[in-house]
Point group: C2
């Protein structure tokens, strides 16, 4: 029988390629108690077909939490519960895109979002970034280019906050330019906001959703990073008409709200104060890991190597001096006991990333991260 987990650790290898949480940080006991309480409190209501928009206690929790960690809190009809962000993105492609429509994507970007979009009959067009994230001028140019060829630029998928893979956040200025441009051009922004809760140097930036005019941005939130990915529950905030499109769709009409029972477990966990407490605990733990990895990079990387200094999330993006190819480095690094994700992975069909690699500091304690970076440095001397 195969293992329970998607993650597989190779013997003797510290796996920094995977954007997974540390199992030791998952709130097993608190969720066990929340599950017990949810079924005592809601009884059979937790087990029947749920409200298609999602369990109201979880919608209420999302609204209350976003009032604390974002610049605006959604109205009740601006929220729907998803079965996680991956599922939310899949449903956006199904319900809001027509065959042949264009999805604009950043380069680099979350590689599996590209894979989800490619499962649909849509076209992907990459937009380049620079050291400060998505280039708004390049986006304007890409939109023009799509239109010239008769295409319909329908969505932009972007991770503006604690980006995957770079860890960077888009500046306030670029955020405002981006929402204005997208609104002007009629391009719907799909904001992957997975890492908002994991802010290590003060509050996270205001979401694009909070800055955009109603109806111009869908933000995908998730509890995969702030609680546990195995729950498969997240949310979207969007204009009320967009939310209606999901709620009135066949899947939710037929099956009732996404992840109904689990949504009530999460709401109960929140009600008991576990969520706020444990997110704070995660921030402290991951901040230490980020800091330790940054210090280790200073110590072990060859001259001329650059890396990002993320204020949140899971990832540091490392760019080696000219002449390196991280795909070629990969087997050498694994032989030295460290795994990473090579940069090309995140560029889809666009150029770039050859000298770069993504490191996740989420899964291991600080001392193990230190050892991993030492091994990476040693692999680089060998290569």
């Amino acid at each position: 029988m195969v293992g329970l987990a998607e993650f597989e650790e190779r013997a003797g290898v510290i796996e920094l390629a995977w954007g997974h949480p540390d199992p030791r940080l998952l709130p097993v006991t608190a969720l066990r108690q929340a599950g017990d309480r949810a079924l005592r409190r809601y009884g059979a209501d937790a087990l029947g077909y749920g409200n298609p928009a999602g369990a109201p206690p979880l919608i209420d929790m999302v609204r209350r939490r976003l009032a604390e960690i974002d610049a605006r809190s959604p109205a009740a009809d601006e929220v729907a519960i998803t079965a996680g962000s991956s599922h939310g993105l899949d449903q956006i492609a199904t319900l809001l895109m027509d065959p042949g429509d264009v999805a604009l994507v950043e380069a680099p970007t979350y590689h599996l979002a590209l894979k989800i979009l490619r499962d649909h009959p849509v076209q992907l067009v990459s937009v380049p970034s620079d050291g400060r994230g998505l280039r708004i001028d390049a986006l304007a140019e890409a939109i023009r280019g799509v239109r010239v060829k008769g295409g319909r630029p329908r969505i932009l998928y972007t991770v503006p906050t604690f980006h995957n893979p770079t860890g960077l956040s888009l500046s306030g200025r670029r955020r405002r330019e981006l929402v204005a441009l997208a609104a002007r051009e009629g391009v719907l922004i799909v904001e992957d906001d997975a890492y908002r809760e994991l802010a290590y140097d003060g509050p996270p930036p205001a979401s694009l959703w909070s800055l955009g005019r109603p109806g111009t941005v869908i933000r995908l939130g998730t509890f995969s990073k702030s609680i546990a990915p195995g729950l498969r529950v997240g949310y979207m905030t969007a204009g009320a008409a967009t939310i209606s499109r999901f709620v009135d769709g066949g899947m939710l009409d037929s099956g009732g709200g996404n992840s109904h029972f689990v949504a009530l477990v999460v709401a109960e966990y929140f009600r008991a104060g576990g969520y706020a407490r444990d997110v704070q605990r995660l921030r402290v733990a991951y901040r230490k890991r980020r800091d330790r990895m940054l210090r280790a990079l200073e110590r072990h990387m060859p001259k001329g190597t650059r890396w990002t200094r993320p204020a949140g999330g899971y990832f540091i993006w490392v760019t080696l001096p000219p002449g390196h190819d991280t795909r070629e480095l990969q087997p050498i690094a694994v032989a030295n006991g460290v795994g990473f994700a090579h940069g090309r992975t995140f560029f889809g069909d666009a150029p770039g990333g050859v000298q770069s690699l993504r490191l996740a500091f989420s899964r291991y304690p600080p001392a193990t991260l230190e050892a991993a970076i030492r091994r990476l440095g040693s692999a680089l001397s060998t290569a």
Copy 2:
């Protein structure tokens, strides 16, 4: 705040339109205990990103259970866990159909399956049934008709066992003819097998999946009817290559296995013997309800009315004497304190169903069903 449940009862109305379980029959306590045990047994493994095919203990349970209630048990690589059948059907349309492909559907059929398919860029073509279910000759003709117009008949969506809305099961002979025809024509059968566990007069018929050549049928199973719909967990059995297409898709690669945590709760419930015990309890309870509704129909329906005598599932299909229109009857029935689903609902764009209605005997105890049918009879005298 809106209610937790999708179901809404109108004051004074017995609602027979909804295919929902009786909340009093949902195993609240047993699932509370199973949730507790699952987190004690699996710990953080229940909360991380799960194996994309689904949690192995639940796959194992599906294989063991189908060995008891179907003619063949799937191999491990012939099963994937879904987030319920609605989600499974949605994913079939996304991953296995191209824009413009044709989905053949029965008339009548489960109306929300039509709605799920219509959310995708595919065409629906209805195939007529008779009193013994889907007509295989009509299916052959429909396939020819699609091909003549240059279309590609990609799937047939069908509910062969304890059908929704009629309650009928396809005969063994038609099953064999159907799988042979579909294989010959290269049409993939999507078998909605939601009601298999709810068999009241002996074992259910062998599934199309068990009769078909490997790779020619996908069966959608669910725990919504046999445990609780709010869990949002089900499974599919299919050829190993088809399963791979789902497992290798972007959504599962990104998010890990569907409903991972809940899948382990269900596996634990099964392991403790709760599943087998409670399904037996459901069969006994629903059999009484079916019998009571059938007797009440004898007593209260006007002469010339016909109805099905289902051997399982949730539904009885009633056809009134010529001249009736159940859409017009509906408000009169509601005024008399009983709701039903009118027959046109289940025909999509195809003709039929004007004189028919669907009654669910799942949600209320026998005495209430008796009262409901008395009210329906009284509404019919008025109409």
